[in-house]
Amino acid sequence: MTHLCLRLRSGQMEKNSKISQIAGKIQPYVFLLPAVIVLLAVTIFPLIYSLNISFRSVTLLKLSHQPFVGLSNYIQIFRDPRFYNALQKTAIFCVALPLQFSIGLALALLADYLPGKGSFKILFLLPMIVAPIAVALVWRFMFNPNRGIINYFLQAMGFSAIPWLSRSGTAMASVVLVEVWQWTPLFFLVLYTGLKNVPLEPLEAAMVDGASRYELFRFVKLPFLKPLILITVLIRLIDVLKNFDLFFGLTQGGPGVSTEVLNLYIYKAGFKWFKLGYSASLSYILLIIIILVSNILVRRFRTE
């Protein structure tokens, strides 16, 4: 009787184990499914759709009519002087990156050197936390040539007022200033944390060997910081290349086209002129540029 029961039960268990085996295999995929669907819908589908319309002549005013035009949009881009202007302005804007990095590094070294509680240093992080568009709008008020607070202080100190956002040269400089103001804290945070976490043994060994403060930094701390620097610079580089909020809030590409960076031009072509096909092809060019530049950056870092 028990034998029979046991055999029956083990037979059932065998059957169960087959189902449970399959179930076990599918299970992780089932749990992944919602995330994958969202990813497909929100990321992959728009990517493919915009690639598709970049090869078509599409205007928002007549979505039903999307004739295939091959590379025509891309060819138009290379003939477009405004595109080259946008490239140039984006490249100029990249100067904000070494500025953020060097100031952030200097501050981190300073903070590392100074004794004191970390809580004070948290105040440095505030600019990062504010939404970029809010940053842009508040700075726009501050830059106001007649009533803004910056010119107020300048004039109080005896200097003449500067037309921050109304002259080509100073407009770009102003946006760079705001960008550096907002993101230097990120470098400060990462590098300061990195400096505080440098492993003690190599450090002490070097100190014992009589290394100067500079040599300590250059040969012990810096190599340790390298991966952190690479990651942060990479993330920020991508953000700088596709910056939109600051330009939209501060200058709208003006005065003239002196601050019309590529992402802003993409927006204008797509949502002010409604030329979606052209806008899509411009955005793919931007994507290619970002991929190329990031690759070069990573490779240079690796070989060093």
């Binding site: 928002l60 005013l61 979505l63 956002l165 080509s168 003006g254 003239g256 030329k275």
Partner: protein, 431 residues
Amino acid sequence: MKLFKRLRRGTVLIIMVLLVSCIVAGAQEKPYAGTTITITSLNAAWADAAISMLPEFERLTGIKVVWEPLPFDSIHEKQVLDMAAGMGTYDVLSFDNPWLAEFAGSGWLENLDSFVEKTDFPLDDYPAQLMEYWRFEGNLVALPFQPDTRMIFYRKDLFKEAGFAFTPRYWDEFVVAAEKLNNPARDVYGWDFSPALTVVALVELLPWIWANGGDLFDKNMKPTINKPEAVQALDYYVTLKKYAPPGIESRLWDELLNNTLQGLTAMSVQPSVFAGKMDDPKLSGVVGKIGYFPVPYPKGGKMSAAIGGWCLAIPWSSKNKEAGWELVQFLASTEIEKQMALTPGSASTPVRISTLSDPEIQKMEYIPIFLESLRVASYSNRWKIVEWAEIQDYFTLTIQRAVMEELTPQQAFDEFAAKVYEIMKQAGYYQ
């Protein structure tokens, strides 16, 4: 007994018939009771005034209204996206006049002629000079709403101090006034305007181009913008910048308004709707000091003005078109127009002849100037070009670059004429 039963049955029947007919009659008075409709417009002060009148509308018709005010930066995109995708989010639209050709040309606006006929809407109460614009291919597609023209807002006290007996009518007198009133040391500037990258630059410059005998296109839609008349107007526009407060090249309309409200400028060009804000003690530092005169023109030219403003229309994708028309009728009615215009701080201008003739409205200081400008006004996209958005963008960019002195006026308009030609050619206007 049988008779009594029959009588009882009869009375019950009669009562039921009466009840049902009452309900039916009541329903016919409010046929759309219970619907909810959505309207979108600029987030202007007049929108707030209109929103405060909505409970009255609901009481009259039983229709609930959701009003979605949008900022100027994004209203164009949002409306285009809604209609392009046929989402039906909006049942009534208030859009800016230059977009008429775009919207109507894409077939997105309901033909209002049938609504006007069905409800006997008094279309002849609208100024005839305006109404032609709002027809596309013969169909009435929108009703003008909250019109405005540019006019000069000037400081009456500063004029008196400077000894001016009358307001300037011609370009040369105007320069004299701007020069005399320009006193940066005293923190007062002679003139202010907005050449930044928005349609505002266009409605400031176009009247001067038109007054000088120039225009964007000729009869065959070929660009004539680089002809001497137009270039002279741009040159005049640019030379006036020396009387303007610093930062003029990137001045947007909100800063322009604020400069006037704070007494920084003796004269500035503003939309007529902002006249209401000048005497608002909460906003204005120049209450009671601002007067108005029409935009000056060259001697030998003819007075001209740019009319702008919004409208009321029904998108093709709306699911409640008749209910939407009820709202349009309400907002466009003389009583509501008048109430909105008289609400303090609403910066609302009526458009109907009956409202504009009302003595209470006529008492408002800017209205006579508004009417005088209206007589000679044209819309900026009066050719109703569907591809206007791109043309407008390059036009305003050109104006800004000329003001920045990156290009001379002739160079600027030469470049722009070439670009416009390209755009029009690509759009198929030259066969």
